[in-house]
Amino acid sequence: MEEVYVEEFMSPGCVGCPAVQKMLEELKEEFGDKLTVEEVDITVDTTRASQYGIMSVPAVAINGVLKFIDVPEKEALKKAILEEIEREE
């Protein structure tokens, strides 16, 4: 794919969300333009979370596929992004 779009589902009162946010900021520095991160506040955009079947935050979807619920290990998150970058269409 060469490019990856990450949707980070969060809410204002979420305890684990800042940790995921920090991981993604660090990965963004590492991957540069190849990685786009969008924060989706599920209290505002309820429909998007519903489309993914998300019932709790944090959650992470990569290129339209829900990959993590709760706070993932940073290495697992990085691996999932790399797999998507290297994926052939």
Binding site: T36, A49, Q51, G53, M55, G64, L66, F68, D70
Partner: protein, 597 residues
Amino acid sequence: MPAEREKRIGLFICHCGKNVAGGLNIKNLVESSKKIKGVSFVAENKFSCSEDGQVDIQEAIHEQKLDRIIVAACSPSLHLMTFQRCGEKAGIEPQFVDLIDIRKWTMHGSPQKTSPEEALKKSIQLIDLAVKRMRLKRLVPMAEIKAEKSILVIGGGVAGLEAGLDLADKGYKVYIVERLPTIGGKMALLYKVFPTNDCAPCILAPKTAYANIHPNITLLTNSEVKNVSGHIGSFNVNILQNPRYIDLDKCTGCGECVEKCPVKVKDEVFSAGLGERKAIYIPYDQSIPKKAVIDASNCLYFQKGVCRLCEKQCPTDAINFDQKPKSVNIKVGAMIAATGFDEYDPSGKSEYGYGRYKNVITQFQLARLLDIDGPTKGQLLRPSDRKEPKRIVMIQCVGSRDQKTNPYCSNICCMYALKHAQIIKEMVLPQTDIFICFIDMRTVGKGFEEYYRRTRELGVHFIRARPSEIAEDRETKNLYLNVEDPEIGRLLKLEADMVVLSCATVPSSGTEELSRILGVKLDENGFFKEMHPKLRPVETNVRGIYICGSAQGPKDIPDSIVQAKAAASCADSELRKNKIRLPQLIVNASKLKKGDK
């Protein structure tokens, strides 16, 4: 299929009449959007959701060979499904249809409305992001799952019972979970209901009794939902059944154990703190199930290891001190949250002295005092000296329409104040002077205005003002209020034997915890948030979980019944097809565990 072919993205910019077009330069937005990487086609529609607008989109899909579309218009909660259906008709997989809200920046009345320049800039950014997301989005295959023909209703009040009975009559297996030892909710404790002044437990009893014997209904009282996973059609629910210390199959509800129990405690729940009950008790005569329950926190055996008089007295050996909390797992296709409301605790409004002055009570407490089966058997006696009050002042909007506590109108307080005034004047103490201090009298509903007029005709006094403070005479325990009456233009000094506070309706305790368990969002006031306030008032952000009654916001009994029926109908519409088509990712999501991939 060539990669490029798969990524022909069409963008449709909706004018929404003047709602969007009046707030930004559409031509500039169209031109800027054409330059975004990945956009193959851009068109504008006056109303994309109209029949013509949808035909235009479908024609463009065919002519431009589009396989992914984005509509820039209004909120996805309003119209995403419209455009997904529209796209699907032209051969586009619903996952590849997106709707983004640019109208929030342009429409008059929107809290986020901004200048045309700013709206244009923000819209371009949002479209850019949506196009990138759509360009990289992978197709997730659809899965067809079997829908469980069972429903969980959380809350055994009038709304929950109505929804549960409707669904049980349609053939669904219904579980009704109630936190308290009896179903019936607040309505069972109201004595009478407006605007007919019917006896509340009498008109509720057909529902509670039917729920108790319905072959498709399982009542789980004294129980709480602890965990939920899964998705529509297949939710896994863990329920904790707290011990009653009574064998339900053996208990006949004779009450002999209650008579013998030596421990008396204040009954906070069923007598609103104005009466007493024993440590083993039956909540009230029409309780369902009419079985005893032991309050372990006040039972001598549990606290000091002595007594067990109830056990000796029970003719059917129904007492079981060894009962433990029980974990129950069920699988249901849908859920309905009908968790009701609590009365606002006015002790936070120190100016009214609630909790300090014995003769300041709430309307819910007054309902219990007026109830012929309540703590005073229907005698209206003021708490300080158990004398009949000669003058009662009611204060409206306590904790409602108040920026310091709850900004919303609680909807039912005007009517229940009128109801109690009528009951006192007509049935209990006709000579009592009643003053109602109000901000606005809101009597919107069938027969409500007539009810208000009738109350006035009974001689109840209405003062458009909110007393600033209540003082108490330490000797007599009488109460003094200063009220500025704008209609006569002077300060009134009222002396009252009793003051009744018409308190706000607030979300029931535990709503926040349940919202976390269900994944259903709360609104700014802490009630469950509906998918759309006008068009989808009983659906939530989680497909397959519905809300009704006061769990969604303050409302009276008829409105709660209407919503309960609507929630039941929504659940039925989804589950009656037996099979539900869901994106595989939703099915997968239910299997994902913490940190899993």
